[in-house]
Amino acid sequence: MKRFFAFVKKEFLHIFRDVRTLTILIGLPVVLVIIFGYIVSNEIKNAKIAFLDYSNDNVTQQLKNDILASGYFIEENCFKLANDNKTVADKNNSFMSNAYSGDIDAAFKDGKVLMVIVFQEDFAEKIEREGIANMQIIADASDPNTATILIGYIQAIVEDFQRSMFFEGRESMEIVVEPRMMFNNELKGAYMYVPGTIAFILMLICAIMTSVSITREKEFGSMEVLLVTPLKSSQLILGKLVPYVFLSVICSAIIFLLGYFLFGVPFRGSVFDVVILTLCFVIIALLLGLWVSNFTKTMEIAMTLSLVVLMLPTLLLSGFIFPLENMPMFLQIIADILPAKYYLDAIKTIMLKGGGLMDVIKDFSILLVMIIVLVFVNIKSIKDRLD
């Protein structure tokens, strides 16, 4: 036991001596949480929009006001309506934008506007007489995320506008919808990103750092020195892992605290449950890192491999950024094999929704099974190495 502690002390010294790496290890989660919290949001403000208003009457004016008053859009004037074009537009009611499609294209290509809204000629009159008027919304969909969000805004505004026309004088017949945004009534993006960042950082510290620290000993030849010491190989491995467990606990605590105090991400469930789950995830990540180090000989390869096989999937296939439900089958299968999905799921339920371990029993047991499997896999491959 004394030998073991001496070894753990050596490992700690290794880590704490490299102040730069340590700074980055602590700094990275801090910066990431701050970036995610302050920069990433679900809302678009002041998107540039241009109107092509062939009618310019009081109804289109009112609609435009509604759109601009929402705060989501600001108007950019990039079209000059020429009188001779009026007739062209009138003839092609279904493709009102045709006469200006060149101009619209140019505006999109320069990145001047994200959306163009076209109102038909005699808009108000058509609503009055024919009961229907046409309006065309053209979005630059080279970024479909932006396009979908912006069109969602417009849809809601036009819908409201129509409804208020429809229910004029019949207000009391309108169903009053009271949406309650459960668990996150301000729709803060940080709610998604704090748990995601934790999973990501834990994977980084545990998996990459462990695999690198072991291959480092191999590459520099100091592994042989360690192997001839009276330390048992299991002690050796454990000694390598302990400092990183310690580091990852500190890092996750920092992230939780930052999320709580800076962005008001709540902690509704029990701390104990979160700690248990986080420890499970840490152990899995450590075992993965160990496993990678078993079949790599240089740090360069260990790093690249853990980056590609462990980091990127944790970022992209965990439901952190992109929802898993819409992914094709084969990606969902990959996501099912990875631990991050279950961890994130469970953490969100407990932290944000105030659930208990019983609510996440499925995720929790899958994580436990993963630990057992990985322990077996590692025992097998470690033996090979010592031969």
């Binding site: 949001s41 995320n145 929802p323």
Partner: protein, 370 residues
Amino acid sequence: MRTIFYIIQKEFIQIFRDKALLSLMIIAPFAQLVILIYAANLEMGNVNFAVVDYDKTQTSSKLVNLMSASPFYSLIDYENSIDEAQTLLTRGEVHLVVVIPKHFEQDLEESNSPKLQLLIDAVNGTTAFLVNNYSRYIIGDFNEDIVIQRYPEAENMGKINCTYSYWYNDLLDYKIFMFPGLLVILVSLVGLFIAALNFVKEKELGNITQINVTAIKKYQFIAGKLIPFWIIGIVEFVIGLFIGKFFFNMPFLGSFWTLLLYTSIYLICVLSLGLFLASISHSQQQVMFFTFFFFLTFIILSGIFTPIETMPSWVKYVNYLNPFAYLMKVIRMILLKGSSFYNIIPDTICLTAYSIMMFFIAVFSYKKIS
């Protein structure tokens, strides 16, 4: 010039000798490209919902039927109380609970401002926003039908017919959007990580001291380190473009040469950054974390996962210092919108200036004394 050439030759021999790293360098990015292109999709999936019906009338069941008939919604269960429904929300089994209060039908008939409550799981704000919008849309239609039944003349009330066109990506195919972004990640990975690791490795193993005592000038050494990875980066980029074009049928509207020119300037910038980070760090572990830090920050700010439009406006200014943002913006403009060289002149000027600056920073930060 000949000195640089010899260094390049040495680097290539070294790169091709390490078969494991080489294959990782080639296979990994393309595997990523092919797999991850399917990952990005922010569309709303199927929304499971539950109903708490305190009214239990024909009208309320009609509304529920209307909602479950929608292709986006599937009804999971009727619950007896809000508490039970909330448990489902907590466990993530449903995303939406519709609460129909008592006297809903009666209130509708008596024009008594009937109320309806929606409980939306808002942990993911984007989905919550969409679910809210869409539910109100269905409920609004339902409401209008009832009004029209009562007052048939209301049917001819003015309507606005909206047509939506999505230019440059009319089916809102996320693959088309993700592909250029992934290409940027792919070439930047080579640029930042591999080059930086390679440089530091030389330091860590100590053979840089041998180079330090030769007559090789600082700029020659940096250039010699930069050019091989610059070539590899360009080759990977071109192969990536071909894969996109021929396997995924990605649009390629603009000029290939404009894009290639721009990318090669970009690579100089990224590689110089990588070499700069390498020359100020002492071990592979350090440089790995340095580059990783910048990589991640730059990627997020460049707007690949979440649109720049959703970020605060000062991010735009920060992005002048973010090389990834330059390529991310321009590659989409060229590939998807067919923007010409004329459209990207301002970006090209900024990027060129930035690359030259970055190269000199890399040269000056490399010290021949250890």
